[in-house]
Amino acid sequence: MSWLERIKPKGPAAAKAERSSGVPEGLWKKCPKCTAPLYRPELERNLDVCPKCDHHMRIGARRRLDIFLDPQGREELAVDVEPVDQLKFKDVKKYRDRLADAQKQTGEKDALVAMQGTLHGNPIVAVAFEFSFHGGSMGYAVGEKFTRAAQRALELRCPLVCFSATGGARMQEALISLMQMAKTSAILERLKQSGVPYVSFMTDPVYGGVSASLAMLGDLNVAEPGARAGFAGPNIIEQTIRQKLPKGFQRSEFLLEHGHIDMIIARADMRARLAQLLAKLQGLQNPLADGAAAEPASGG
């Protein structure tokens, strides 16, 4: 990514996503890992990665897609999909009210944003989970949006990239949530059979029903540094086996060592790395090689 793109002013959507990612107002932010005080504008330029300890902080879905896709020619997909409360689920609070709160707080209809665009000039469909919406959990709306985005990739025969950040299936939609695992896996199998590349990009955290479906089915599975991903959460495992978990359990580095992912990609490299990887899978020229079309203007 060029330095120009890094410092370009963000659109209103990106600003909104940042607010929803829990970054407090004010000029300084403490790194949640090394506690170094960080100057906010500098942190933003650094894509919310701590310059001191390289901790990759969580970012919202729109910010993610904004820093990933080329600035021009983006189209949001499946905007009409809304969550449905088929069970009329109620615990201490109505699920409908929980949804309304989450929508108000995040400005999103549900926990997935899907976009069609280009990456270093090559067409791509990208989706990202919004973790601040109900813990990025997957119910009907997330499954449906993902499926429609995958269908678009299939029609265009262009790659699909998914940035996951989720606690898993959404309890409040019960078995309908569970079935989204089968649904998203089925459409991904169609992509696989048709030779359309799919990259699962895991960002902190990825658990449960999403881990056990769309997040593990990539032609390439990759993860951000330090991201945690697994089927059962650490608490559940500790309760079951009654022992402490080893340090670094379920972190990206553990996943790499155990053969679950192909590589760890730092946020600053994700555009270039994915563009080059995908171009190889598609038999295209290296979009970043000398003489290839220049990176699209970053003013955008």
Binding site: E144, A174, L175, L178, A182, S185, A186, L217
Partner: protein, 317 residues
């Protein structure tokens, strides 16, 4: 408290105890006692009927987990003939929480895959209480792909408290094992019939649960997270599990209404353990009927119907 009966069945247990006592006393053909026993029997049946007529979701969860509830192997021996169990995933090991093999259903060769909780302490330990690890799901996948090559329909029996949440499970990528099964089952070129016979818990159940027909026994349950787990997260206490079970709609009648379950297989009064042969016979008849329906479809239609059903999950009617 009689452990053969669940907490909410204790009034039935008391009556049955009384009947037993009377029978012991009345072995010297006393007519009055015979009358009394008959009366009590009728009363016990009536009581069972009235209790079972209005079971709560949580009570159904209890029946589904009843210690005497028939498990996969109980059905396999009664529904299928000529059963050969096959072992191992060819990569790591043989997970006994999943039994898999080939058998005949009404003469026709089929592949059978079931989650098995195991009866008795040592058997339960051997079978990890029905909680499969990655190698269990990979063994199932191996069998399914073999079934596809040899034109054998796949019959699955679902009964698990969940995929095993342990360090080794995670190290060997339990998520991938489940996900891979979901993907492959969505396009496997042979009919797949899945039946929840007891407890269908989350991804560990779904990993052998994608198919052309989804059945549930009447008092089986199917959920995205156990009622206790759901209660722990929302109410911060597992005491609220009954409320969670109610809210999640874990029963066959609810799931049939949502279009997730096709057919509910009736159980005898008081649950499947009261008459295993009868339930097995009903299950067998259902499987034979459904297999005939699915076999009549051209392969393309079978697969397209399965795919469209998957795509439709959750879409508002």
């Amino acid at each position: 408290m009689n452990l053969n009966y669940l907490a909410f069945e204790q009034p039935i247990a008391e009556l049955e105890a009384k009947i037993e006592e009377l029978q012991l006393v009345g072995s010297d053909n006393d007519l009055n006692i015979a009358d009394e026993v008959a009366k009590l029997r009728a009363k016990s049946t009536k009581l069972t009927e009235s209790i079972y007529a209005k079971l709560s979701a949580w009570q159904i969860v209890q029946v589904a987990r009843h210690p005497q509830r028939p498990y996969a192997l109980d059905y396999i021996s009664r529904v299928f003939d000529d059963w050969d169990e096959l072992h191992g995933d060819r990569h790591f090991g043989d997970d006994r929480a999943i039994v898999a093999g080939i058998a005949r259903l009404d003469g026709r060769p089929v592949a059978v895959i079931g989650e098995e909780k195991g009866r008795g302490v040592s058997e339960k330990v051997k079978r990890n209480f029905g909680m499969p690890k990655p190698e269990g799901y990979r063994k199932a996948l191996r069998l399914m792909e073999m079934a596809e090559r040899f034109n054998m329909p796949v019959i699955t029996l679902i009964d698990t408290p969940g995929a095993y949440p342990g360090i080794d499970s995670e190290e060997r990528n339990i998520s991938e094992a489940i996900a891979r099964n979901l993907a492959v089952m969505s396009r496997l070129k042979t009919p797949i019939i899945c039946t929840v016979i007891g407890e269908g818990s989350s991804g560990g159940a779904l990993a052998i649960g994608v198919g052309d027909k989804i059945n549930m026994l009447q008092y089986a349950t199917y959920f995205v997270i156990s009622p206790e787990g759901c209660a722990n997260i929302i109410w911060k206490t597992s005491d609220k599990a009954p409320d969670a079970a109610e809210a999640m709609g874990v029963t066959s009648s609810n799931l049939q209404r949502l279009g997730i379950v096709d057919e509910t297989i009736a159980e005898p009064l008081g649950g499947a353990h009261r008459d295993i042969d009868a339930v097995a016979a009903t299950l067998k008849a259902t499987l034979i009927k459904q297999l005939a329906q699915l076999s009549a479809l051209p392969e393309e239609t079978l697969l397209e119907n399965r795919f469209q059903r998957l795509m439709g999950y959750g879409r508002p009617a």
